[in-house]
């Protein structure tokens, strides 16, 4: 099992690409800031979202039962899966019951987590990912490297070559308009011939038994409304109590994700179309275990906006694949050790604990504090030298670049001397001696470091 730092080294071989990746994500982060500043009561919205999710986790069983009852009374079939294997089997069973061999799927991190595609493919089912970014990585036989921007690690030239090979496109030097249009034609054909459409669920409403799916491309709806059968897969934590709560979450989600005021399509499914069927698969797969961990429970409030990735200095410079987990970045580094601590033991160290993730999180998860808590647990259970080596590598690799020193105002020697101590044991103000942690509204990492430098 390769550690985060080893994998990050691989990503860092192409420095131009890393710089581009870094800037592109920071740009998305800035768009998020602008969008947030245009909303009156933004901080109150975040408080509400956080409070609603906290209530959900404390009453989850009742909400799930209420949701099931209401969904069923609207003609939706509800299935429950304790783990990935059960989830995959349920989906496959629905497919066989409908004699389906062709499936179109819109974005769903849960089905990634369950490795549904390889499972279905081994049974002879064709599964086509229909989000453009997901289709790109599917053709490249890669997983997504970001939960909202699945192909952010790919250059347009790479996509050009990929499309030439798989879709028979002409060389275009990576013209995004041309490539997107070719993908549209290719996917049209897949939509028109699919037997079953699979989607994720952004929010499931206990009060109504309905659910909402958000996309910009319209790919979820194209799949669903052209097929007879719609299978929607959701983790147990996707529940919200009342429909009016969508007002809170839809205002936060797209602004936090890409800086848009809302996604292009926010589709509300309550009843199947006449003659069609909707199935919902509700999945645990380790979530109730995470619920039991008081310190990490709130990580289940995540609405998968990706803001913590876009803002994270380590993520931006190490890439999604360096985390080797379904959900990369800061939130993934809290969720993954909960699934498999040994495999993911290096992830909580892939952070500077700068707190920028917690500052942008629309549901106010204390991400960096949870990372710190995982470190304490992992440090206790694993050999020290390994941990120290890991930290040194991360520090050296991600922060150890001449241009960054200037920004960071620190020396490699300083880092090597103090980094292990800081990264394992520090509270937030460890960069200073006993000063208060600088208060950074929607914390800008560079600015924070700049201030640090100025303040000595």
């Amino acid at each position: 099992m390769m550690s985060h730092s080893k994998l990050a080294e691989i990503f860092n071989k192409d420095e131009a690409k890393v710089n581009w990746h870094d800037k592109a994500l920071w740009y998305v982060r800035e768009k998020r800031d602008t969008a947030a500043h245009h909303v009156k009561g933004w901080e109150y919205l975040r408080d509400l979202a956080s409070g609603i999710k906290a209530n959900v986790l404390s009453n989850l069983d009742n909400y799930l039962v209420e949701f099931e009852k209401n969904a069923q009374s609207n003609g939706i079939e509800v299935h429950w899966a304790s783990n990935a294997e059960e989830h995959n089997k349920i989906v496959y069973k629905i497919l066989t019951q409908n004699n389906a061999t062709k499936v179109v799927k819109s974005k769903s991190m849960l089905t990634e987590e369950c490795h549904l595609n390889p499972y279905l493919e081994s049974k002879g089912i064709e599964v086509i990912d229909t989000d453009l970014g997901e289709r790109i990585v599917q053709l490249a036989k890669e997983p997504p490297s970001h939960i909202v921007l699945p192909a952010i690690h790919k250059t347009k030239e790479e996509i050009d070559v990929l499309f030439q090979e798989h879709l028979g496109t002409k060389p275009s030097n990576g013209d995004p308009q041309y490539l997107t249009n070719e993908a549209r034609k290719h996917l049209r054909d897949k939509f028109l011939n699919a037997d079953v459409a699979l989607t994720g669920v952004n929010f499931a409403i206990a009060e109504t038994g309905g659910f909402v799916v958000c996309t910009n491309e319209g790919n979820a709806d194209m799949g669903v409304h052209l097929s007879k059968v719609h299978i929607a897969c959701m983790g147990i934590e996707k529940i919200i109590p009342r429909e009016e709560h969508l007002g809170v979450f839809l205002r936060l989600l797209a602004r936090s994700a890409t800086g848009q005021p809302i996604t292009t399509y926010s589709s509300h499914f309550n009843k199947p179309a006449p003659g069609n069927a909707i199935h919902i698969v509700i999945v645990d797969n380790g979530r109730t275990e995470q619920l039991s961990r008081e310190d990490f429970r709130s990580s289940l409030s995540c609405i998968r906006c990706g803001a913590c990735m876009n803002t994270c200095p380590i993520y931006r410079r190490s890439g999604g694949f360096s985390y080797n987990a379904t959900i990369p970045g800061p939130i993934g580094s809290i969720l993954s050790p909960g699934m498999d601590m040994k495999k993911h033991s290096s992830l909580p160290f892939a952070s500077t604990l700068c707190g920028s993730c917690s500052n942008v999180c629309p549901v106010k998860i204390n991400i960096h504090e949870q990372l710190y808590k995982w470190r304490q647990i992992i440090t206790k259970e694993q050999k020290q030298p390994l941990i120290k080596k890991t930290i040194l590598k991360i520090t050296g690799m991600v922060l150890g670049r001449p241009k960054l020193y200037a920004v960071l105002g620190i020396s490699v020697r300083w880092m090597l001397k103090y980094a292990p101590r800081f990264m394992v044991y520090s509270k937030l103000n460890a960069w200073g001696k006993s000063r208060e942690f600088p208060k950074v509204e929607n914390g800008n990492f560079d600015q924070w470091y700049k201030n640090r430098k100025n303040n000595g």
Partner: protein, 193 residues
Amino acid sequence: MGKSSILKSIKENKPTLISLPEIDVNSFEETINLVETFKKNVESVGGNIKELGQIQDLDLEIKNRYPNAKRIFSQISESVLGNVQISEQTKPKDLENLDLAILKGVFGVAENGAIWISDEQFSIRILPFITNDLVLILQKKDLCQHMHHAYKMIANRTRTFGLFISGPSKTADIEQCLVIGAQGAMSLTIFLI
């Protein structure tokens, strides 16, 4: 056994009940020009928007904007451009080559340029997605400020299928370059009456 074991595990592991916050909508109220804000946001999400003095101008405007549209579905009695019929026998795939759909929007949301439409406006769910271009007609009086109002406005609807639609389909999955026209409609034009 999925359901019972999941529910049991939640019961054992959940924290004590934390109360559900009430949404204080007053915190979000602003005095804004609804029409202007809506227009600005529609444009920012890649949509076209035009105010029409009178609905009689509608067909002329549509013809100007979509001169090549041949197969057109219209749900608006004021437009005579529709030449595609949708009946109970129509299959979603039959609309594969639809050039233009003209539908009524129920109401618009100023803060994000979104318009609510539901299967009451389009008898076949694939319609607003599969059509090459989409025109929505909206009454100026049917605008609300933000999503909290929006959910109040649809609270008593018959719940089947409906959506907020904000601009044309789009993607930025290739090097973050925004491309309008992904898998759904290639353009969205809103006529405000």
